[in-house]
């Protein structure tokens, strides 16, 4: 898994490439904890290059989602591939997390107050 961070005004975009699973979840969790811990609580996870998410990946996202919301922000997802979306839907994540078609849509949703 590879991570790349970019900043757009008050929104941090974390582009993730590869598989979010038991072998990579710690790396993702560490990155998300660092962002949230330094006050970057408006997060967008760019999933356009993520091909798989397992239960360990879901737990990583859930932890960051709860913490960012607790601090007044949010974690949103963008460009989720159909195979990953099926797991998010089956696990109920699609019901509690905001998912956008693309990164610009997810970033601008914070400004729009969505």
């Amino acid at each position: 898994m590879e991570l790349a961070t970019t900043h757009h005004d008050h929104v941090t975009v974390l582009a993730i490439a590869g598989s979010v699973d038991s072998l990579t979840a710690d790396t993702l969790t560490a990155a998300l904890v660092e962002h949230v811990g330094t006050g970057r609580v408006r997060l967008v996870c760019d999933f356009s290059a993520v091909n798989y998410t397992s239960s360990a990946g879901l737990r990583s996202l859930l932890g960051a989602l709860k913490e960012s919301r607790r601090l007044g922000g949010d974690l949103r997802m963008a460009a989720v591939q159909p195979s990953v979306l099926r797991v998010l839907s089956l696990s109920g994540f699609a019901g509690i997390i905001k998912i956008f078609d693309d990164v610009p849509g997810a970033v601008s949703s914070f400004a729009a107050g969505a």
Partner: protein, 298 residues
């Protein structure tokens, strides 16, 4: 290729396999099990629910793909639900006159499915199978999931397949049992409870109907809605609660699969194998890491 995969995989490599409800679609698990075997990954335990119970049993018995496919083709045909149970229908319409009994209420005659199960599994007992097997059903009186890990295979499968309204419940060890999907359509919790670390879960959502032109279809649609919501709720909890890994395999079917599309079994098995192959590299790396961590603890 299979030999190379097997050689490079840790001897400790094993997973628990959970097969959810989904009628004939559950045959995909045969393809999943085949790919796991090919990769040298042992199935330490198998859990099956409803249609999944049938295929979990075939896997626990150690049948190869061809045998499992042939048994499915003989067992799961449309005529098992063809005959009506008129007495049950009359007892539903006139309960006082005909004497309604929950233990006998099923609108389809179950004599053929009982015969087929007996023919396929005879007097086999769950505790004697090659791989530890758990078949899940639901206690009709309190709604709890029942984990059947001992006793006759045929009764357990029949209980797990007691589709509400279609087949009568099964009385087993003092409990009245109905279909396992009513309590959990993908019983990952059973594998977690028995100490599984890496769980491979093969699950399916119930299909929604586009046209509802009868009371029967109305009831089926309601059942699908409820079971899908239950599936998601239980799956979400189990995914978050489990300390290790749940690898979910949801085969993608490009063809529409109906309840008794037995002729599509070979295609369904292939789709399961294909979906498993997409996960196998990750699974092998995970098991290698898991095995190394286990060795350090010892």
């Amino acid at each position: 290729m299979g030999t190379n995969l097997a050689k490079s995989t840790s001897a400790q490599s094993s997973v628990s396999l959970v097969i959810g409800s989904g009628s004939v679609k559950c045959a995909a698990a045969i393809g999943v099990a085949s790919v796991l075997r090919e990769a040298g990954i042992r199935i330490e335990r198998v859990v099956g629910c409803s249609g999944g119970a049938l295929f979990a049993t075939l896997i626990a018995m150690g049948h190869d793909d061809a045998t499992a496919r042939d048994m499915t083709l003989r067992l799961w045909t449309q005529d098992i639900t063809a005959r009506r149970n008129n007495r049950a229908l009359l007892s539903a319409l006139a309960p006082k006159l005909m004497g309604f009994k929950a233990s006998r209420f099923g609108l389809r005659d179950d004599s053929l499915i009982n015969h087929r199960l007996q023919e396929a599994f005879g007097d086999a007992r769950i505790e004697d199978l090659q791989v530890p097997l758990h078949i899940t059903a639901t206690n009709f009186m309190d709604g709890e999931l029942v984990d059947l890990s001992r006793g006759p295979v045929t009764s357990a499968i029949r209980a797990s397949l007691a589709i509400p309204f279609a087949f009568a419940p099964v009385e087993l060890d003092g409990q009245l049992l109905v279909d396992g999907y009513v309590s959990d359509p993908l019983p990952i919790s059973v594998a977690i409870k028995h100490g599984a670390r890496v769980i491979v879960a093969v699950g399916f959502e119930s299909p929604m109907m586009e046209q509802i032109g009868s009371a029967g279809r109305f009831a089926m649609q309601l059942s699908s809605i409820m079971s899908n919501n239950l599936l998601r709720a239980r799956y979400a909890f189990n995914s978050v609660a489990h300390h290790a890994e749940v690898i979910t395999i949801i085969p993608e079917f490009k063809k529409r699969i109906r309840l008794f599309d037995t002729d599509k079994v070979p295609y369904i098995i292939d789709a399961g194998a294909q979906a498993a192959r997409e996960q196998i590299d990750y699974l092998r790396r995970l098991l290698d890491v898991d095995g190394a961590a286990g060795a350090r603890v010892q």
